[in-house]
Symmetry: C2
Subunit: 514 residues, 2 copies
């Protein structure tokens, strides 16, 4: 991949790139959310210490499995763990000690530097839904996702003001062979958007392809010294680290690229049915996973992940937006902060099959918990439907709009003289009204967050307009955004090199559909 990397001539270099930039439309994107509000701390210090002690017990006495990965076992043995077959027992304190080299926050660079994000501390970065094999829209219903759908979602993400990150597998492009689709997906993120994105994790070789393509896009030197991808490494709960995910983690850690080390837990099936028990397992798994990332490369950027839902014990189906899931989110956030690590959880999660009230109840519980619980990276922030089986176009824009609520809420409350508004209260006085007063005139345009999807019209006007429900309003918003989409400028030489890399890679292997 060396020849691809060397084609890079620095950001925005070349006359063609300059010409492209001049003709591009500027799409507004909010900077990541920065919290001026406290985090919600649901657990006492005593409870947190119980979990931390229990997690160390789990690691020391039960241990975790690193499957099909002799090199990992070797690294653990060298670090002082006890190895028995594929089981790794980690002495008390060792994993936590190893985690200390992980940074408390990092910058993930976007190709448009204005869209680079800081992940950690008081920030919250929102990325769209990840992984669904199906898509749904109001017109066509539910069907298998295609690469064309994928591109549409990337465009919608690019056009969404409150969405900071282009994400990764916004849907599975099932019309592209499994072993090649990561190339098309990365190309779409790199060329149809200028927001930060995620790399492939489905094979270590695909993680390497992701790094290669980033070297074309950003330049090899830049990638060597900076984080340009944040990728999702799931742990097979309970306590199993498979070679595919760990292989991808190794690639990314070695390249200084960020990984979310995330238990994926359906509570009751993959963890105990209690909140305290689940938090213990989450912490043990994250400690082991992040410690391992630091064994691969001390200082590699990582995120403490916790994707936890519960199971409906009647039907066995996963549920979302439940109180137990919120409690786990809050508790995991506290555990992450005590480790000084960025935290990933939350999202617009729901079980509903439609972008209806059920979807919104479930989604909003989770979005609120994510904001209040100190989440730094929120995957699935918009577009998630049906337990993650479906990416919904309408829900994508509905949720993305709601992220504006979180932005405003996180800003906290201003207390300068103008915000105190004592002159206005005196001017208006008892029985008056504020619509015309000087303070209102000076501030009304920015005073209140306003949805760009929801309907505030009076009943009669709305009824005459066909009484659209939220899905119908959102379908129009999707149309509007796509009609106004303009591709962000990219140096044509880079675009060409990326396309050539993808073509060459695809030609080098037979199609695989499993």
């Amino acid at each position: 991949m060396a020849e691809a990397g060397t084609r890079r001539r620095g950001r925005g270099g070349g006359g063609a790139a300059r010409r492209a930039e001049r003709t591009s439309v500027r799409i507004e994107t909010a900077k990541y959310i920065e919290r001026n509000i406290p985090n919600f701390e649901i657990l006492t210090d005593e409870a947190l210490e119980i979990i931390e002690t229990n997690a160390e017990t789990v690691l020391a006495e039960i241990g975790v499995n690193f499957v099909n990965n002799p090199a990992a076992l070797e690294r653990w043995r060298d670090a002082g763990a006890e190895i028995e077959g594929e089981r790794v027992r980690i002495p008390r304190g060792l994993a936590r000690k190893l985690c200390e080299t992980a940074p408390s926050s990092y910058t993930q660079h976007a190709r448009n530097p204005e869209k680079s994000v800081v992940i950690g501390g008081k920030t919250l970065v929102c990325a769209p839904v990840y992984g669904p094999p199906f898509v749904r829209d109001a017109a066509g219903g539910r069907r298998y996702a295609t690469m064309a759908d994928f591109e549409t979602f990337v465009k919608l993400g690019y056009m969404s003001k409150w969405l900071h990150h282009s994400g990764g597998t916004v849907c599975e492009p099932t019309d592209v062979p499994v072993n090649k689709r990561h190339l098309d997906m990365l190309l779409a993120h790199m060329t149809l958007s200028d927001k930060p994105f995620m790399g492939s994790v489905t094979e270590p070789s695909r993680a390497r392809d992701s790094v290669d393509m980033c070297e074309i896009l950003f330049g090899r030197d830049f990638v060597a010294e900076n984080t340009v991808m944040t990728s999702l490494i799931n742990i097979n709960s309970p306590m199993t680290f498979d070679d595919v995910m760990m292989g991808a983690l190794e690639v990314y850690a070695e390249a200084g690229q960020a990984s979310i080390v995330s238990p994926f837990i359906v509570g009751g099936a993959m963890a105990p049915v209690s909140v305290a028990g689940t938090l213990t397992q989450v912490l043990a798994e994250v400690l082991a996973g992040i410690a391992y990332s630091q064994l691969v490369r001390p200082g590699a950027p990582v995120i403490f992940g916790a994707f936890v839902t519960s199971i409906d014990m009647n039907s066995g189906a996963p549920t979302f937006g439940t109180p137990e899931a919120s409690q786990i989110l809050y508790g995991a956030g506290q555990l992450a902060r005590r480790m000084g690590l960025p935290f990933r959880s939350g999202g617009g999660l729901c079980a509903s099959k439609l972008p209806d009230a059920q979807a919104a109840y479930e989604t909003t519980h989770t979005l609120n918990a994510a904001l209040m619980g100190g989440v730094n990276f929120m995957l699935h922030a918009c577009g998630w439907l049906e337990g993650g089986l479906v990416s919904s176009f309408e829900k994508f824009v509905m949720d993305a709009d709601q992220l504006g609520v979180l932005h405003r809420l996180a800003q906290g409350v201003a207390f300068d003289e103008s915000a105190q508004a004592m002159d206005a209260i005196a001017e208006v006085g008892p029985g008056g009204h504020y619509l015309g007063c000087a303070h209102t005139q000076a501030n009304f345009k920015t005073a209140f967050w306003r949805s760009e999807v929801l309907d505030y019209r009076p009943f009669e006007t709305w009824d005459e307009a066909g009484a659209p429900d939220t899905q119908a309003l959102a379908a129009r918003r999707v149309e509007y955004l796509l009609a106004n989409y303009q591709q962000p400028a990219l140096d044509p030489a880079i675009a060409e090199a990326l396309a050539a890399y993808v073509a060459e890679k695809k030609a080098s292997m037979p199609d695989a559909f499993m």
Copy 2:
């Protein structure tokens, strides 16, 4: 009304009452929510002190108006306020001092003692929507509310496990004359439900009727010594206390009955467009109103109310579930706690015309803020639609179901040995699953909150069942609850006395429709 009161022979007295109780079906109602979680404190102490200082300035320098109420002006003059026309200027510290006699919490008794509620401290009591002139259901759309609708809502409230309170004007029965409908509404709450309820506030005489009817229901002595109603006294913001609402407040305070003293603010119209300015006005208004209640009767139970929404500055329409509304709720909760008073705010508020995703986004933001913000009495907890113009049958059961999420969330996280689940983690081990383990078997039935409205079925099953959206699911739930409704037992002598009181009152005056 003395003769009515004397008919009362103590709770559950009489053979007929005993017979009625034996045949009654026991409907499960959760005790009010008790928080084992902290409140969310969005404002610093410094910010709170600024608001408190500014509110005292508003009261001392601008003052408030008590309209058409010479007796109120006299009370204020005697207490040390400066009176100028109808304007009352309250010296710094006086209102706050007067508020000190108000109790920090109180019990509102229900006729079924198991359903009495404690309001204040760590509790949250949920009551349904209040005030809409319209109703909506999936089958019939939007139409003017009738007394039959009112009764249906009272029945649904009685059947709703997570709803603690029967409320007040769950919809306006527009087919009953304005001057008589309070009698029918009270009779419905008293006979169709056994949960606590609210009194009439639309005329001081109707407040007196409410007290009279309670004396029939509970016995005169009981009412003299106990709180059996919590009623809604709105302030005409900015800073105006009209004689109708204050007249009702006077009746209730004198009778030892509870009042919610609540600014009703559409931000930008009735208060400044800033959060800090609105909080200042809210505090000034509540200080004046609650101080006045204590001038009427020291120790009268009251609630610090804050109903605040913002205006859509494009259309002038009120909006709900906005971040500014949540910020005001959080801040007002802190102010109420610093005064040691019960706090009312929140609810399932929304602007949406349909029980769709918009309604649920808006509702869920507010429900979460209410739980986290320390609300003690949540009016409009279920059934609210279209900015409070519409009571929706489907949304009533949808929201009432969501209150279960708040219940569970408020319980906090258990940390006993069973909850820690260390045995389960050891039993299952890496790569295993928890479905069959002993800990899961022992705990799965109560481990997770489960909706009784939302759909968790797999896509195929749900699709074959007609792919119902949440509104359709809720319509079935409404049918189910009404089909299973059985009137709670009531001593027939009391029921008869109540009916006679209502008939007599109605016959004593001509119909009025304005």
